[in-house]
């Protein structure tokens, strides 16, 4: 069974613990996905825009990109370490884009059997999009506390 799990770097341990209670993971193949959302970067570019100026300094953009990729790598490394305790089949993937769309696209191309997303007390935009557009079953792990 191929399971795609959307990792956000903040609730990894509780997500995987909850998943382990609900699904037999020993024979499952986990695809841990981290999506670098492009919304905040687009907002940053808009707020920095100044008429008449050329585009933002390249070295600052590089640093932004490095920060985002590093956080993604760290989050996936942490998730992989936790997941390997319960299953041998673990794969990590980091992509950029809108989180909801990226997860649905990944699920489609990898032919996953189940998508797992986490949500706080209210459904976030990514969870809502996946619930509406996923190509297969979706497991929504809902927390009543939004830390």
């Amino acid at each position: 069974m191929k399971i795609l799990v959307l990792i956000d770097g903040l609730h990894t341990r509780e997500m995987l613990a909850a998943l382990e209670r609900l699904v037999e993971l020993r024979r499952a193949h986990l695809i841990l996905a981290y999506v670098r959302g492009t919304g905040p970067r687009a907002s940053l570019e808009m707020l920095r825009r100044r008429p008449g100026r050329h585009s933002s300094p390249p070295h600052l953009d590089r640093r932004l990109h490095e920060a985002e990729v590093t956080v993604g790598d760290d989050a996936l490394a942490e998730a992989e370490a936790i997941a390997r305790a319960t299953t041998a089949g673990v794969e990590t993937v980091q992509v950029a884009g809108d989180p909801g769309r990226a997860v649905c696209d990944l699920a489609r191309t990898r032919g996953v059997d189940l998508i797992v997303v986490r949500s706080g007390p209210r459904l976030g935009p990514a969870a809502r999009f996946v619930a509406d557009h996923a190509p297969g079953p979706v497991l929504l792990l809902r927390s009543h506390v939004d830390r």
Binding site: G9, L10, T38, G39, P40, A42, S43, L44, M46, L47, R48, R49, R50, P51, G52, R53, H54, S56, P57, P58, H59, L60, D61, R63, L64, E66, A67, E68, T70, V71, A75, G97, D98, G100, R101, P125, D146, R147
Partner: protein, 424 residues
């Protein structure tokens, strides 16, 4: 005929500046509009040259600001400042939000709102991302504070220099009318953002801020030298403002000193200079000066402003009219052309001499604080939202507008009240 043609070219130019057809830089739209004004005879080449040459102080100030920001970035000043804000937060996301707001205010006050928006914002973004905190509250904090604090000193926003040149106001006069209003704007912005993001920023983080600060400052000697230079330059601005020295000259002398310091200490980087200095900005400003002079010569700016001032009879209503007209225009197009038009109108007879000063101080406040309603002007914001949606990027327009709809009116009302009081 001249007036109608000048008005048409002005309107088309502004539309191109806002809409940016074919992703055209605003500078080329402004340059094109200026050229059309000259070719159609709306302005003579001599008047156009005079319109540009007469603003040498503002050009030098912009250049000095950009060079200063470039040198500060070269030695890691902004990264270090952000690391200090993180250290002082002691692991609290809420405290970090407050620290970022205060940092944004300080950088804006002494290095201008452009330095805050262009350099500090991505630095804060990077550091907050690494802390695994939600980025948007901190992004908004820096952006909104860049406008809220931009009225504090004449150097805090280049458009203040523009107005200051016209008013020939000493630092004492400037602060007597605007300091309280500016502090009020900073306080309101801080309170509103802390309240709105109180829950969202209720997260803790761990961070080895010492290693973050150490990685920001790779050469301590250069860092100390440049920061010392920045402090001296800040003092120079304050003294210069008090004595009515041209701030552009002070900015260039200061920037020159910093560049020499960086070169001597082998920290000079052409990459940083070319990244931070935008030659197209000067083309944009020069184009706007020519265009506004053209419509001024046609009597349009005086008519526009006198229309707005029709019911104004005292300093209080002059301030209010200045604030409202400037804030509305700044949100429709952009604050620089908006303020240029209002200054031009006020100086060419659209405002009684006795009411000119309160009107212009009000216009300055509107141009500095008004952009918090829609960060790049209403039309540009809408177009930006259309473009990012086409790229499949989901951004909540309501987040911007909701926050702006809270912050901007409150800061404008509070500041206007205090500026009115200052004229009694």
């Amino acid at each position: 005929m001249h007036a109608a043609l000048a008005a048409l070219i002005f309107a088309i130019t502004l539309a191109c500046v806002v809409i940016r057809p074919w992703h055209l830089n605003e500078a080329w739209s402004a340059a094109g509009g200026a050229l059309l004004m000259v070719l159609t005879g709306a302005i003579t080449p001599q008047s156009a040259a005079q319109a540009i040459g007469g603003e040498w102080n503002l050009f030098l100030f912009f250049l000095g600001l950009m060079l200063t920001a470039a040198v500060a970035d070269m030695v890691g000043f902004f990264d270090w400042a952000a690391a200090m804000a993180v250290a002082a937060a002691r692991g609290s996301g809420r405290q970090l939000l407050f620290n970022v707001l205060m940092l944004g205010a300080l950088v804006t006050i002494f290095l201008s709102n452009d330095a805050t928006a262009i350099i500090l914002t991505p630095v804060v973004y990077s550091i907050v991302t690494r802390l695994r905190l939600r980025v948007m509250p901190y992004l908004f904090a820096v952006s909104f504070m860049a406008n809220a604090a931009s009225m504090t000193l004449p150097i805090s926003n280049p458009i203040n220099v523009l107005t200051g040149d016209r008013l020939r106001a000493s630092l004492e006069v400037y602060e007597s009318h605007l300091l309280a209003a500016s502090v009020c704007a900073i306080a309101i912005t801080t309170l509103v953002l802390m309240a709105v993001f109180w829950r969202t920023t209720n997260r803790s983080f761990t961070c080895d801020w010492r290693s973050v600060a150490a990685s920001a400052v790779t050469d301590r000697r250069s860092f100390v030298a440049v920061v010392t230079g920045l402090v001296i330059l800040a003092g120079g601005y304050v003294v210069g403002s008090a004595l009515l020295w041209p701030l552009g000259v002070i900015a260039m002398v200061g920037a020159g000193g910093l560049l020499i310091t960086a070169s001597v200490l082998r920290r000079f980087s052409r990459t940083h200079i070319s990244a931070h200095v935008s030659p197209t900005l000067f083309v944009y400003i020069a184009g706007l000066f020519v265009i506004v002079r053209s419509i001024q010569d046609a009597g349009l700016t005086a008519d526009l402003v006198s229309g707005a001032m029709a019911q104004v009879s005292d300093s209080a209503s002059a301030v209010v009219t200045g604030v409202l007209s400037s804030a509305v225009l700044s949100n429709t197009v952009n604050n620089l052309p908006a303020l240029l038009v209002l200054i031009s109108g006020a100086q060419s007879g659209g405002v009684d001499a006795a009411l000119r000063v309160p009107f212009l101080f009000g216009a300055l406040a509107g141009a500095d604080l008004g952009p918090n309603l829609t960060p790049v002007g209403a039309l540009s914001t809408m177009l930006w939202l259309v473009i990012v949606r086409r790229r499949g990027i989901e951004v909540s327009a309501w987040d911007f507008l909701r926050l702006g709809a809270l912050v901007a009116p409150l800061t404008l009302i509070g500041s206007t009240f205090l500026i009115v009081l200052s004229f009694r």
